[in-house]
Every structure is written in structure tokens, then in C-alpha cells.
């Protein structure tokens, strides 16, 4: 692992941000805790997707299938009488296993075929959840034990849990970004054949990234399921979310440490605004946002060259000044 000054700075900045957010939970009311939990959850999913979609460059549209598997694993484990923490660990493990089973065939595919295969995995898993009544409760959904205690305390508990998971996803991203593993993933994104020629075990790297991403996504699904205490196939395997997550990461910047965070926050704030003011048009406006992102921010917020933009602005400012001085001197 290579730790240069910029990374250490990013790490410290990230940790301070998490500490500040966690301490905020003491003063926030229940509504804001709810929004914060959703935001943390989406950031977790973005960071998990970023490992496969951003660093490795594979257009995976299967994030939500791991999320759903995690949600159901958590629900089933709690129905079997496991404690909530054990259920979350079970969710992450089962997510990793499902990712392994899906990744072995799917990661042999490339490009569109991979994208379509991952979409199909979402559909198949949703249909399984829909039809396997005895295990999942089918289309009626599944009730999960509600956490005892007063609502404020429970809200804070889930907020901190999700924030903890987000911190974990952030730290994993930092490690991946700076390690040999992440370097290998970037090589795969650039040119898979060349990567295998320089001695990277491409297939193992791809599967490892997919499994890591699946485990994180499933853990988020587990915490979500415990929080809402009721899941149904339509919610747990929501096809819109499977596209929203890549859009969020694209908004922030793919293959970067802070891209998923910035994209997630930006998108959620925008979406809340649209929901609040244009309820009839929200999916259309969401579409407009997606289109606008692709045309105007193709590399995300972090992909803009802020430095050169600032330099250009500063330069033009300076020239203006000097031009004014010249004019003044002449007159």
C-alpha cells in the first residue's frame, strides 16, 4: 500500500467528516436521522459499485441484487432467531457467496453482455423472491422483528450502524485505491489483455472485486431490512436503483475515493427537492438530470479540472486588470 501525502490528507478529511456526522446524530431529530440513514446507505452502495464499475470499469447493473439478497438474508436470519448483529454478518456472507456464484459465469462476459447478464440476475432473483413463498413470503412481503425501544433511540442506532458501514466502505475504497489490488483493477479497466500479460491474474481480480462489492452491498441491504422491518420483492430488487447507483457515481466521479460520496449527496439532495416540488414529474425530471449529467459532467464533479478552471479565471482576471492599468496610464 502506497500512502502519499494527498492520500493521507484525504483519509484524515474523510475521518473528520465521519466523526462530525456521527456527532451530529446527538442533535438531529428523527426526520433528519432518516434522511441521513438513507444517504449513508446510498453512499455505501455507491462505494461498493465504484469498486467494480469505477476502478475495474465493468458496467455492473447488479448492485441492487446484492442489496436485495442481503435484505432477505437478514430477514430470514432474524426469523430463525439470530441476533441482529449476527443477521447482518450473515447478510454480508450470503451476499459474498451470491456474488461469487454470479460472478464466476458473468465475469467471463464483456461489455453489453456483462451489463445485460447483471440486469438479468436482478430479474431472476426478484422472481425467485416473488415465487418462493415458503422462504420469502412471496409477493406479500416479509415482516422482520421491530427493534424495541423508543423511536429516537432506534433511529439513532440505525443511523450510526449505517454510518459505520459507510466508514467501512470508505476505508476499503482507500485501501483498494492505494494497493496493488486497486492498481490491478485499473489495469483491467485500461486494457484487460495487457493486464494479463504483465502477470495480473485478471479473472481472480475481477471475481475478488465483485465479491467485495457484493458483500458490502448485501450488508447495506441487511441493515436496511432491519430498519424498515418489512421487505417485499418490489422494494428489495428495485430496477430503478440499479441504474441510479451508477448515475450517482458518475455524477461524483468514477474510480475516485470521494466521487461516490459527492455524487450520492448531490443526487439525494436534488431528488428530495424534485420529490417535494414536482411529484407528478419526478421520474421525468430524474431522466433530465441523468441526460444533463452525461452531456455536461461526463467525468463527474471530481473529473472537472478545477485547477485549470481556476487558473483560467485568475489569468483572465489578471489580464483585465493589466488592461485597465494600461488604459489608465495611456489616458
Amino acid at each position: 500500500m502506497i500512502l502519499d501525502r494527498a492520500t493521507v490528507f484525504k483519509l484524515i478529511f474523510g475521518l473528520l467528516l465521519f466523526a462530525a456526522t456521527a456527532s451530529l446524530s446527538a442533535v438531529l431529530d428523527n426526520y433528519y436521522l432518516q434522511v441521513g440513514t438513507t444517504l449513508a446507505m446510498l453512499c455505501v452502495l455507491c462505494w461498493a459499485w465504484n469498486l467494480v464499475g469505477g476502478y475495474m470499469g465493468y458496467p455492473a447493473l447488479s448492485m441492487i441484487s446484492f442489496f436485495g439478497v442481503g435484505a432477505y438474508a437478514d430477514g430470514i436470519a432474524q426469523m430463525q432467531g439470530l441476533s441482529i448483529y449476527a443477521a447482518w454478518i450473515a447478510a454480508a456472507l450470503i451476499g459474498a457467496i451470491v456474488a461469487l456464484l454470479l460472478g464466476l459465469p458473468l465475469l467471463r462476459l464483456k461489455g453489453h453482455y456483462f451489463a445485460v447478464g447483471t440486469v438479468a440476475s436482478v430479474e431472476v432473483l426478484r422472481e425467485v423472491a416473488n415465487n418462493w413463498d415458503s422462504l420469502t413470503g412471496g409477493a406479500i412481503g416479509m415482516n422482520i422483528p421491530i427493534q424495541p425501544g423508543n423511536p429516537d433511540l432506534v433511529g439513532r442506532f440505525f443511523f450510526l450502524s449505517m454510518l459505520g458501514l459507510a466508514l467501512g466502505a470508505f476505508l476499503i475504497t482507500v485501501v483498494v485505491d492505494r494497493s496493488r489490488f486497486g492498481f490491478g483493477l485499473r489495469c483491467i479497466r485500461q486494457n484487460e489483455q495487457a493486464a494479463s500479460m504483465v502477470g495480473i491474474n485478471v479473472f481472480a481480480y475481477k471475481v475478488a472485486a465483485f465479491v467485495l462489492s457484493g458483500a458490502i452491498g448485501a450488508a447495506a441491504g441487511g441493515i436496511y431490512a432491519s430498519m424498515v422491518a418489512f421487505i417485499e420483492p418490489k422494494d428489495a430488487f428495485n430496477l430503478i436503483m440499479t441504474i441510479e447507483v451508477p448515475v450517482m457515481v458518475m455524477l461524483g466521479g468514477m474510480g475516485t475515493i470521494f466521487g461516490p460520496l459527492i455524487g450520492g449527496v448531490f443526487y439525494v439532495v436534488l431528488k428530495e427537492f424534485v420529490w417535494a416540488y414536482f411529484i407528478d414529474w419526478h421520474s421525468g425530471i430524474l431522466g433530465l438530470i441523468i441526460v444533463a449529467v452525461i452531456y455536461f459532467l461526463p467525468a463527474g464533479v471530481l473529473g472537472l479540472s478545477w485547477k485549470s478552471m481556476f487558473n483560467r479565471w485568475a489569468r483572465s482576471h489578471r489580464t483585465n486588470l493589466s488592461a485597465k492599468t494600461i488604459v489608465r496610464q495611456v489616458s
Partner: protein
């Protein structure tokens, strides 16, 4: 009983072929997974319904007009929006068409509302050795099959069709031969939209349509396209009929609720075992 399911499968299979052939052509030639396809099918169906029910026009007039309108829509979308990003990584084009799909779907929902609508047709039934066949379904399938075969013929024998195949085979060489690539791209997308519109009109004759069904149609197009092989018209016909029959048999064996899953399972198997689809690489026509 089995015969009835097979005939139903064949009838719906012809419709499926028409549904998927445009999607497959766009994917094969432009290398775009067109998430907008399902909404274009719904749009075609609603144009047909609107023409017949609100304007009171005859069916044989409404269907061609709806198809032409869809063609113009597709041409404009490709020329104005998609051509700008067509060379970008696939995630970009896929996300962009998804965004456009959200917009179009929202507009359809707003204009036509979410109430299911259907054309009330009563053309009667054919009875054929104990197998009952509704005439409307036969008509819908005939429209779809004739259009698909016509497209196949045009691709092989017209100048524009050959240009589309040339672009599909080698974009750069085609450009050197004086083919206007942006125009051909837009034309291909327009043809995809036209076929989607025709499938929508045929579906409107048979099923009640709601804007929410776009996802279902898109899923079917996905499955058929992967089954048959990208950009191949014969592949789409083969895949469509196969999906129709397999769904029928899946319903018979496992029950109604598993029909869609059987299709997707088959697609997963094919995508892993034969990544070029069942019609293989030869199907470049």
C-alpha cells in the same frame, strides 16, 4: 392442451420477434442497449389507441401513421442526442437511453394516464382441430411477421439496407466508401423505433396496455435479442418464437407465475454458454 399452448406460443412468438428485431438491430449496428425501446412500444400502442378511439380513424390508416411517427421520433432522437455520445463507453449510452426512457415514459403517463386501455376488437375465433385461435392474434402476428420479413429483405437488397450492414461490419471502412455514418445511425434507430411502434400497434389489438408495461416489453426484447444473437433479423425471429413457446411450456409445467423467470433463466444459460447467441456470428444480415 399441449397443441393449444404450442399454437399460442407460436402466435405470441411472431409478435415477440417484431418487438425485438428493432432492439436487436440498434444493439448490433450502433452498439447501444436501447433502454428506450419498451417505452417506444408503449408509445406505438397508445398512438394506435388514440387514432382509433379518439379520432375514429380506421385501423389500416392509423397503424402506418403511428409507425411513421415513431420512425421520425427515433430518427430525431438518434440524430440530435445519441449520435453525440455513440462512441463513448457503453455505460454512458446505456444510462443516457435510460434517462430518455424516464422522460418519455413520464410524458406518456401524463398524457394518456395510467388507466389500462385496450382496443375492443371482436374478429371472432378460428377452431382448428380442437385448438382455438383468436383472429385478432393471427392478424397482429401477421402484421408483425410481414414487417419483420420485409425488413430482412430490405436489409439484404436495398442500397440503404446494405449500407446499414456495411456500417455494422466495419464503421471506418464504410465511412471511407462514402457512407454517411450519422445518417445511417439515425436511420437504423428510426427503423428500430418503427418496428417497436408496429409491435405496439399489434399488442394494442390483443392486450390492455398501460405505460407501466414498458419494462416488461424491454425485458422481453433483451431476452430475445440475447437468445438470437445481436443485430440478426433471423435470430430475432428464432428467439421470439422460442421465447413464446418456452413461456407457454413454462406456464404449463411450472404455473403462470414462473413464465417470465423461465425466459430469463434460459437467457442466462444462453448468455453463458453461447455468448454470440443461438444464431451465431453469421447472422450479420
Amino acid at each position: 392442451m399441449l397443441g393449444q399452448y404450442l399454437v399460442n406460443g407460436l402466435l405470441i412468438g411472431g409478435l415477440y420477434a417484431c418487438l425485438a428485431v428493432g432492439f436487436s438491430l440498434v444493439w448490433g449496428v450502433l452498439n447501444i442497449v436501447n433502454m428506450l425501446h419498451g417505452s417506444m412500444v408503449v408509445l406505438g400502442a397508445y398512438l394506435c389507441l388514440y387514432g382509433v378511439q379518439e379520432l375514429g380513424l380506421p385501423l389500416y390508416l392509423v397503424v402506418p401513421v403511428a409507425c411513421v411517427l415513431l420512425f421520425l421520433f427515433g430518427y430525431a432522437v438518434q440524430r440530435g442526442l445519441l449520435n453525440r455520445v455513440v462512441m463513448q463507453p457503453i455505460l454512458i449510452t446505456l444510462t443516457l437511453t435510460f434517462g430518455l426512457d424516464l422522460i418519455v415514459n413520464n410524458l406518456i403517463l401524463h398524457v394518456f394516464t395510467a388507466t389500462p386501455r385496450s382496443l375492443v376488437t371482436n374478429f371472432g375465433m378460428l377452431d382448428f382441430a380442437g385448438v382455438r385461435i383468436p383472429v385478432a392474434r393471427v392478424g397482429g402476428m401477421l402484421v408483425a411477421v410481414v414487417l419483420t420479413l420485409l425488413l430482412y429483405w430490405l436489409l439484404r437488397h436495398s442500397k440503404t439496407g446494405r449500407a446499414i450492414i456495411a456500417v455494422r461490419m466495419d464503421r471506418h471502412a464504410a465511412a471511407l466508401m462514402g457512407i454517411r455514418i450519422p445518417h445511417i445511425y439515425a436511420l437504423t434507430f428510426g427503423i428500430g423505433a418503427l418496428m417497436a411502434g408496429a409491435a405496439g400497434c399489434a399488442l394494442a389489438l390483443i392486450y390492455p396496455i398501460t405505460p407501466m408495461m414498458s419494462g416488461v416489453f424491454l425485458g422481453k426484447a433483451f431476452v430475445i435479442c440475447v437468445l438470437g444473437g445481436l443485430g440478426s433479423v433471423p435470430g430475432a425471429i428464432l428467439g421470439g418464437i422460442m421465447l413464446g413457446i418456452v413461456e407457454g411450456l413454462g406456464t404449463l409445467t411450472f404455473g403462470q407465475q414462473w413464465a417470465t423467470s423461465v425466459g430469463f433463466m434460459m437467457m442466462m444459460a444462453v448468455i453463458v454458454l453461447f455468448p454470440t447467441g443461438l444464431a451465431g456470428k453469421k447472422g450479420y444480415e
